[in-house]
């Protein structure tokens, strides 16, 4: 975990100018700290030692006032720009993160790192703000103020400089030592803390279910125990984590004390004058202050650093190579799957397994099979979103030339198809926008399509009719209504290939008829349809029916199979 990851500069442009500004301001601060110490020492020594009056030290006092004013100004400027830079960098990284995750595909987002991306993009990444606003400026000060003050002390009194210089390397040394010794323990502690925390949340999430079974009061004691265990685990981690902070404070304060005692003893014997003594006394804590601040902010910023590392891990996950060839015209070309098999996540099962499928232009193809057999995964493969572990997926032009789907530029392929997933995607806008997608569709055609899908009743019941606003993800519509809207959109579109994944799942018998009519209309329009179907009525309208079957993987062939950590805990 580097304090300043060069990848940050590479990935977030806004970070560069901010760091440059911080370095400039840090240099100014270093000069001001030294100036203030020297001025104060001169003024004070003159008064204490020589009994100078206020008028005699007047110039110094005025200069000190000036330095104080400029330091306040610099602090203000730093703060002014820190927040702005942090927000920009976070926004920049978030956009890249979201884009990368989307391009990595559906499989990735449900497995491993991918499943954490939602939390990372919506919350975790915001932890970079304290990193930028608090931690980074102190880090820069540690690189400017600390050496500058040390050099000045060296010029004033080499003995004190030696004490300070001798302790400074001890600071990182002890920090690393303590860190090494405690790392394993801390990580273990963190994992336990996270687990206990998520168990409490799991119980809260399942509270409605527990109540339905009259079991809601049992876990009260369990929640209390989890809270206690959480506290003990956290305290265990903190006892260790705070050790490094204590070592840091102990070293720095003790060495300031030693410097003071050393100066005092040499003053007694007249080996040192008071001005030098006072200047060193004022400067010695300033050497350590940025280091201590870095230490103090470190724990607060580790979340930010960890979040940044997670972001970089995602940004550096290689994208599957995208094809470059243009897709053939799907009005004439067909899709061919041969022996396709995909390993189900976390199970020793191929779902689908050995799937052969031909999607020819103008045909209605139904995929059937029991739940869990891999129908939806087969659709993902067909769409080029999941690369199969076995078998081939090809686009076959009418002249017989076959192109592997992986070699085809996906945008040229996707532009030719419409896909209705189980949860249809609706763009925000008015109901009219939703079904036309901004395309130029005559109201007559639109109403005809709506009549076919039953959306006309929804429009008639909505207060604003076609102008009714629909939120992102279809907020404001029921699942069934969303499905009708999405079907209407598919009907109004012109894409030659339409893929419907369980279009009847949330509809009753009457709703089912709507889907059947829609499929019939699509067929009449000469469009190709791939259906994932549970219900026999849907299967009946298909020209071809392909059964999707899973197969168990032979033992030992499954890479990293099964949920690894067996956790037979009693949560509920």
């Amino acid at each position: 975990m580097k304090p300043l990851d060069p990848r940050l500069l590479r990935h977030a442009r806004a970070a560069r100018s901010y760091i440059a500004l911080t370095v400039v301001l840090g240099t100014v601060v270093a000069a001001l700290v030294v100036a203030q110490a020297l001025l104060l020492a001169h003024a004070l020594a003159a008064a204490v030692h020589d009994g100078a009056t206020l008028a005699e030290i007047g110039p110094q006092v005025v200069w000190i006032a000036a330095v104080v004013a400029v330091r306040a100004l610099v602090a203000g400027v730093q703060e002014r720009f820190a927040h702005r830079a942090a927000t920009r960098v976070i926004g920049d990284l978030r956009a890249q993160l979201v884009e990368r995750s989307a391009l990595l595909g559906p499989r990735w987002t449900v497995e491993g790192d991918g499943s954490r991306v939602v939390t990372l993009a919506t919350r975790g990444i915001d932890a970079l703000e304290p990193y930028f606003v608090r931690y980074l400026p102190q880090l820069v000060l540690a690189a400017t103020v600390t050496p500058a003050t040390l050099v000045v002390i060296l010029g004033l009194d080499w003995v004190s400089a030696a004490i300070v210089a001798g302790t400074i390397p001890l600071v990182p040394l002890f920090m690393v030592l303590v860190g090494r010794l405690t790392q394993g323990r801390s990580e273990r502690g963190l994992r336990v803390m996270q687990r206990l925390g998520s168990q409490v949340l799991d119980l809260l999430a399942g509270l409605a279910t527990l109540r339905a079974f009259g079991r809601e009061l049992g876990p009260v004691a369990r929640v209390r125990e989890l809270g206690d265990a959480h506290r003990r685990a956290t305290m265990g981690t903190l006892r260790v984590a705070f050790l490094s902070g204590m070592v840091l404070e102990l070293l720095t304060t003790l060495s300031v004390a030693l410097v003071a005692v050393g100066i005092g003893l040499r003053l007694v014997y007249g080996e040192l004058d008071l001005v030098t003594g006072l200047a060193v006394l004022v400067l010695a804590p300033e050497v350590y202050l940025p280091l201590r601040q870095v230490g103090a902010q470190f724990h607060a910023s580790t979340d930010g650093v960890a979040a940044a590392e997670q972001v970089f891990a995602v940004l550096e996950t290689p994208l599957p190579a995208r094809g470059t060839r243009p897709a053939p015209d799907l009005r004439t070309a067909s899709l061919r799957l041969r022996g396709v098999g995909v390993r189900a996540p976390g199970r020793d099962v191929l779902a689908p397994a050995g799937l052969d499928l031909d999607v020819r232009p103008g045909r209605v193809v139904a995929l059937t099979g029991p739940s869990g057999s891999g129908k939806t995964t087969a659709v993902d493969v067909l769409l080029g979103l999941v690369r199969p572990d076995h078998g081939t997926v090809e686009l076959v032009a009418p002249d017989g030339t076959a192109t592997a789907l992986a070699d085809v530029d996906p945008t040229t392929f996707w532009a030719q198809l419409t896909w209705l997933p189980q949860r249809p995607l609706l763009e925000p806008g008015t109901l009219a926008d939703v079904v036309t997608g901004g395309a130029d569709v005559t109201p007559g055609r639109r109403d005809a399509a709506a009549a076919l899908t039953g959306l006309d009743a929804v429009v008639a019941a909505a207060p604003l009719g076609w102008a009714t606003p629909v939120g992102r993800g279809g907020d404001g519509l029921s699942v069934g209504q969303r499905q009708r809207a999405a079907l209407t959109r598919a009907l109004l579109g012109t894409a030659p290939l339409v893929v419907l994944d369980e279009p009847t799942a949330h509809l009753d018998a009457a709703g089912e008829q709507v889907v059947l009519d829609a499929v019939a209309a699509l067929r009449e329009a000469g469009r190709t349809v791939v259906l994932v179907a549970h219900r026999a009525s849907l299967v009946a309208v298909a020209d071809e029916v392909v059964a999707v079957r899973p197969a168990e993987l032979p033992a030992g062939l499954s890479p990293g199979a099964g949920p690894s950590a067996a956790r037979p805990e009693v949560v509920a």
């Binding site: 330091r71 306040a72 939390t119 509270l207 079991r215 809601e216 959480h230 305290m235 404070e249 003053l267």
Partner: protein
Amino acid sequence: MSAPTRPWSAGDPLRRALALLDVDRTRVALAVALGVLSLGSAVALAAVAAWLIARASQMPPVLELSVATVAVRAFGIGRGTFRYVERLTSHDVALRGMATLRTTLYERVATGRVGAALALRRGDLLARVGADVDTVGDAVVRGLLPAAVAAVLGVGTAVAMALFLPAAGLALAVCLVLAGVVSPALAARAARTSEARAIEARAAVASVSLGVLDAPGPVTVAGLLPRELDALRSADAALARAVDAGARPAALSAALGQLAVGLAVLAALVLGVPALTAGMIAPVELAVLVLTPLAAFEATAVLPAAAIQVQRSRAAAARVLALLDEATSDGTAPDGTASDEMGRDRPVPVGAAVPGDAPDPLRRSTPASDAELAPSSACPPEPAAVASAAAADAGPSGATQQPASSATLAARDLACGWPGREPVVRGLDLDVRPGRSVAVVGPSGTGKTTLLLTLAGLLPARGGSLTLGGLPPGALPRPEVTSRVVLTTEDAHLFETTVLENLRVARGDVTDDEARAALDRAGLTAWLAGLPDGLATPLGADGRNVSGGERRRLLLARALLSRAPLLLVDEPAEHLDTATADRLVRDLLTTGTDPLAAGPGSPAAPGSPARPGSPAGPPARGVVVVTHRLSALDAADEVLVLRDGRVAARGTHAQLLASDAGYREAQAREQHEDREDP
């Protein structure tokens, strides 16, 4: 709790939430004392060092300095050591408080209105509640304790300086107020400004991000990714503008904090030198006066951050309290009908249920020892289970002490709906008793789930009457209700634990054999066989690694394992192929005539200690199934067709086929499929 407690009315939400933390005052005082000792050491170090050097320059005998040299070193050590202990103490205080708050939260939501519990099904709200409790705890560690330490230390230092020179002490006090009160107030205002302006922008950022990340496939395939990313960038830009609005007071706060330190030094110099000239103070004292303030500001330096923390914690506290208030407020709010729902305020549930639940694994296990909980440890006869078993026996056999009517659910002209909203179902008459099965069909969105929640006593009846064994469910203690009727909703929770423990949600003493039998019956034999560790296989968070159909069947198996004589099951067969779906629904509808033990358990029923003397023949069950497939409904004693919130038709499957055209048509369509089903 008869007086309605509304958010905001009872004062500062943070104060209320802190009261719920129930922190130990002695520990708090200890933490403050340790903090004062730690930072006091730093101040004393500065003062003594200044004295030492100024005095040394006057070249006194070395012996005169020895106390000071020792003191300087001691303070140097004391600072770090006290700080370490203080941090541990304050974190311990906060963590204890957070555990208490979590427990209170759970307890109140568990016993309060069901709306709060159902709301927690939403993942975002849940995560927020978890984080909010942490944030309330942070107010103690990062907000209030540092403020208390700074206050004590600031007063102490100012008084000490005033002893040398009153004017200098006063000047220091003014500067400390500038750094410790004005600057933090500005920082808090800055945070408030940008937070308030950023709320909308943040929501937009989260919603666009979620939109893409929830459905990356559909977004990319539809070619919407560039547009969504543009939307995200512009939302983030709006967020940056909002944050910028708060940057100005934040900058002023930082500048003031820095200025106060410099001013304090300047003031000491400007006031001290003339005092020295006038002979009011000694030269050595001037050094102490000028150099001590530098250290005193260390305590105030953290206060701007502390003020922001308090600000955030207050917002978090308001959200936590809103949830608590939703759970515990009197149902009188919108319509005056919802009071007394679920016997919430009765002492009975807590008092009676705890001993009844004693063998509950949820209570028994500790995190360290929860690895293995043999079913046998859950075996001592439990009153609650006995009661439920007795109720289960109260079927047609009738040979038990409990009258059959105690497990009879009767609705007359019932209206169902969420409190504060229009009822979605009206005029419903329904009788369910052990041995009788009822199916409810109708288009989606007609309130079938709301109906089930009402029948289960989880929502108050909105009109008409509903009785369970002759009494309204709301008038019965919750354990009484759930020992007779349990509900499995579509979105019931799968816990992040093993398959077996998930089934034990139905009752704590389910044995391996019973679990296997129930899974068999739910059609999950093959699925179970494919699991790496069988029943001990953990399910992912909220069962995310099971398919939709597997999930429904697991929930069904769980429902079947319950001992309650009445089962309410919502869409058990969704996401399944038609043959499996029909088989499961038919099986469930005929469960009323099945022997309970032969169903979910082995014939010997070794894991059912509570029913050893089950005397008469098979106990019966009453079942209400909500479904939208009709083909299996010939097994139901009665079918209710809901349309537009009313019972449009009712009767047996055969009667409905004869009398209701819509029903006939839908059934014909399904049968047509079934014939063609390959």
